[in-house]
């Protein structure tokens, strides 16, 4: 069973629908013990970091996530979920989970590049990811695949080894992160057509080991 973590953050049903389409059993849940029992965990989310963290804490789901990570359970972070696993976020000045060290920054135009000013925030639409190394979750993807992004903030990991993929928009940012049994992406696999479904399919079979066999 795959637990899709429910913390009031929206976008849960679209992840669930994608798992249903793939024929994978999943449940939307905010229940600590149900998450503990789950084989794997999806941490999705659309919304603001401050509110998300306080909702997580209220339901003790911050602990559930940290535990799942420690217990080597495969975890998939999506969009806001990918930001919340960092230490801090500039959005609402939020203390986050700190599963990956680093911060979350807002897109800011470089004064030296006035042409960037016409790039709009949020970064919304289809963009590509430059993968720096292979990973079990991203096997079978066409190298020209694009993914659907909607966000104004992006993760900045301290350790470059956590950066699995990068995307160019205003700046070059870490759009896919990896840390052992956790993989997280800033885009929405559940809204990214066939390549997105491939990632979710891969996740549903992933053993949590970060090496391509």
């Amino acid at each position: 069973m795959i637990a899709i973590i429910d913390y009031n953050a929206g976008n849960l049903t679209s992840v669930k629908r994608a798992m249903d389409y793939l024929g994978k059993k999943s449940v939307i849940t905010g229940d600590y013990s149900e998450i503990s029992r789950a084989e794997r965990v999806i941490f999705p989310g659309v919304g603001a970091a401050g509110r998300a963290m306080s909702d997580l804490k209220k339901r003790k789901l911050d602990m559930a996530l940290k535990e799942a990570f420690k217990n080597k359970k495969p975890i998939l972070g999506i969009c806001l979920g990918t930001q919340i696993i960092m230490e801090t976020s500039e959005e609402n000045d939020t203390q986050c989970l700190g599963i990956i060290s680093g911060r979350v920054a807002r897109f800011v135009y470089d004064q030296a590049k006035p042409e960037d000013a016409k790039l709009k925030v949020p970064h919304m639409g289809w963009n590509s990811v430059n993968f720096k190394r292979p990973h079990p979750l991203f096997e079978g993807l066409d190298k020209d695949s694009e993914f659907y992004f909607v966000h104004s903030y992006y993760p900045v990991p301290d350790n470059p080894s956590n950066i699995l993929g990068e995307t160019d928009y205003i700046t070059r940012f870490a759009s896919v992160l990896a840390a052992g049994n956790l993989a997280a992406m800033q885009f929405h696999p559940e809204k990214s057509g066939t390549p997105g479904l491939t990632i979710l399919e891969n996740f549903s079979r992933w053993d949590g080991e970060d090496n391509v066999k």
């Binding site: 629908r17 016409k118 590509s128 020209d144 659907y148 990214s192 066939t194």
Partner: protein
């Protein structure tokens, strides 16, 4: 680099497409779910549904359609038409739409934009604008006026002012439809798109007037728009989305070519 989006628009009445849509080599089909799935397979980047049902049962029928679409397509889609309250928005989003668009209702009650953005995030709220060319006056300094109720009611609102206000209220995107260009197949209203796009910092979807891939190229080049809405070009099988995208790609516009 972000790709420009190609977005087919489907008009739905009573849960059926208003006209049967004929793809190349296919028969007419009137089921919006099937057509949306077909566009998804053909490489649409997003899909827009516009509900023109007049009856009072409209909501339930449309919600049912949205739910079925959401089970089959895994790209973003938006729903517009008759959305007047935050509760209307919630139902459509819960049924699986990524975004909702408000048009006449937002002119009558601008707070719907901010309330919707507050409840669901800016990225969910699309401000639909129907625009008609008018005289440059003190009231309409841009020379473009907002019309509502499907083009029947003139509001006296200046289009540029309204776009800026919509952004300030929290709209995450603007769908900019030129009533003058709509249905002409003579091309998008380029001046209007340039004017609005260069004055707001949210994406603009150009709508109205597309007849050829060249028209789409014209509105996407130089960032006059971030996305192009299409209808009859693909609905009747004149072009496929791949043909349109290949044309744009060859002319140097970044579009998603793999799906």
């Amino acid at each position: 680099m972000l790709s420009k989006r190609i977005i087919p628009c489907l008009d739905v009445r009573d849960g059926r497409l208003t006209k049967g849509i004929k793809f190349k080599g296919n028969v007419d089909i009137g089921d919006p779910v099937e057509i949306a799935a077909q566009y998804y397979r053909e490489g649409a980047d997003e899909i827009v549904f516009y509900d023109i049902t007049a009856s009072s049962e409209r909501r339930d029928i449309m919600i049912d359609t949205v739910r079925k679409v959401a089970e089959k397509i895994f790209i973003p889609f938006s729903v517009g038409g008759g959305i007047r309250t935050v509760e209307d928005m919630r139902q459509v989003l819960l049924a699986g739409a990524e975004k909702v668009s408000v048009n006449s209702a937002a002119v009558r009650n601008p707070a719907i934009i901010s309330e919707g953005a507050e409840a669901f995030g800016n990225q969910c709220i699309v401000l639909g604008m129907d625009v008609k060319k008018t005289k440059v006056t003190e009231q309409t300094p841009s020379g473009y006026e907002i019309v509502i109720d499907g083009g029947r009611t003139y509001t006296g609102l200046d289009a540029l002012e309204w776009a800026k206000r919509g952004e300030a209220l929290g709209a995450g995107e603007i769908c900019l439809n030129s009533i003058d260009a709509d249905g002409t197949k003579d091309g998008y209203e380029l001046n209007l798109n340039r004017l609005i796009s260069s004055n707001v910092n949210i994406p603009v979807i150009a709508s109205g007037g597309a007849g050829t891939p060249e028209h789409i190229f014209q509105v996407l080049e130089d960032d006059k728009a971030d996305a192009a809405l299409i209808a009859s070009m693909t609905h009747y099988g004149t072009y496929t989305i791949r043909e349109i995208k290949t044309y744009l790609h060859n002319k140097g516009i970044k579009v998603r070519m793999t799906w």
